[in-house]
Amino acid sequence: MISIKEVSKTFGKLKVLDRVSLELLRGKSYALVGPNGSGKTTLIKSILGMVIPSSGDILFDDSSIKNDWRYREKIGYMPQIGHYPENMTIGQIIDMMKHIRKNVTQFDESLIEEFKLYKMYDKRMHTLSGGTRQKVSAALAFLFNPPALILDEPTAGLDPVSVELLKNKIREEKSNGKLIIVSSHILSDLDELATHLLYLFEGQVHFNSSISSLKKETGEAKLGKAVATMIGQKQLIESLKK
């Protein structure tokens, strides 16, 4: 569904993405993992066309996203930190989004209901707490029933009840056969949500395979430990090479 071909991105002298090539398929869910500053958000923003790659190409449903914007109809995006116009109310923002995607008639408002955002429709964005903003972001990402969902640290800043609600929603969409990309530092969350692991380190994909095979290789039952073991092994191999 999304294929990333040899994508590199440099900000000044800093190389954030280094010839990243990936195939992301419909019906699978990917966990995007890596240390801070490894290029996760840049990769996500490149897929959305917010960051323009220095070289390489990204294909969405086999057509390049360069100079195209219509493909974004098929993506629901939940940003790491939701920036919203401070003077607008939640209701206005949801209303505006609906008008932008006019061709969608079936709205998925389950998250708006579960997070009880209806009660706060008249609140302006600048009065909201970080967690409530995250709820708005999540509700907007799922609102239009898009075939692809990109969630950048979706559970950060949410209370435990809301985290469970959101995770249930993601699981539900996963079983509906959507492409889901989740980036997070909370590996126990990803263990339940994702089937594949993408490990990004210094702008390169160091690991790309299914979580079950990773667990089998490392002999660990939990994703967190499996990843730690995998990184340990990699570092060992690196030091041996030197």
Partner: protein, 255 residues
Amino acid sequence: MTRIIKYIFSDILRTKFIILYTALLFVSSIAMFQIDSDPSKVVMSLLNIVLMVIPLISIVFTTIHFYNSYEFIELMLAQPIDRKVIFLGEYLAVVSSLCISFLAGCGIPVLIHGGGAAAFTLLFCGVILTMVFVSMAFLASVLTRDKAKAIGIALLFWFYFSLIYDGFLLWFVYAFADYPLEKITLTLIALNPVDLARVIMLLQLDISALMGYTGAFYKDFFGSQFGIAISTCVLCLWTLVPFITALRIFSKKDL
């Protein structure tokens, strides 16, 4: 597109700055009509406001607005909308709100006191200068990521076109007074939108001789109507070139 413009528009109105701007223009225009009974003299005084205040307010307000609506732009970019549409929507919303407040603030007093053709030229100059300086502000905003730097660049534009350039022109004419400078001076005037607006106004008021021999030559060279038409065309270029440059940079910018 219209919906985006509508949202930005209502956001601008909510900042109350635009209402303050309208009130300021309104009060100063009314006051000038009270002080002086001759409408053409008042138009001359208003001209100075138009030439100094409007570029300054337009360029600073637009730059601040652009950075304040960064969140809005970021939100829109993740949606299925063309980047160019977002940018054009921002531009149209800012230009129309500034023009409306100028026309309300200056236009209503002028209409009440009956300024005639000169007053309409004044309003026209104000509108076109707003467009030029909003374009420049957009260019300043996309050139850098830093708000303070962008406001600095915007102020530099204003200083350059309102003060520095005139000083340079004066020095130039003075230093090369022994040479025939008419055509060169004409070209140099076209390189400054504020001067162009002033020339349009002076040609309209038929007092171009006040501008010294350049003004007289300008009138002699073009004649009033043709001179105004040419200056207007050059001012349109002054709007389009910075805007298109800014649009190009914006469509390749990382956000």
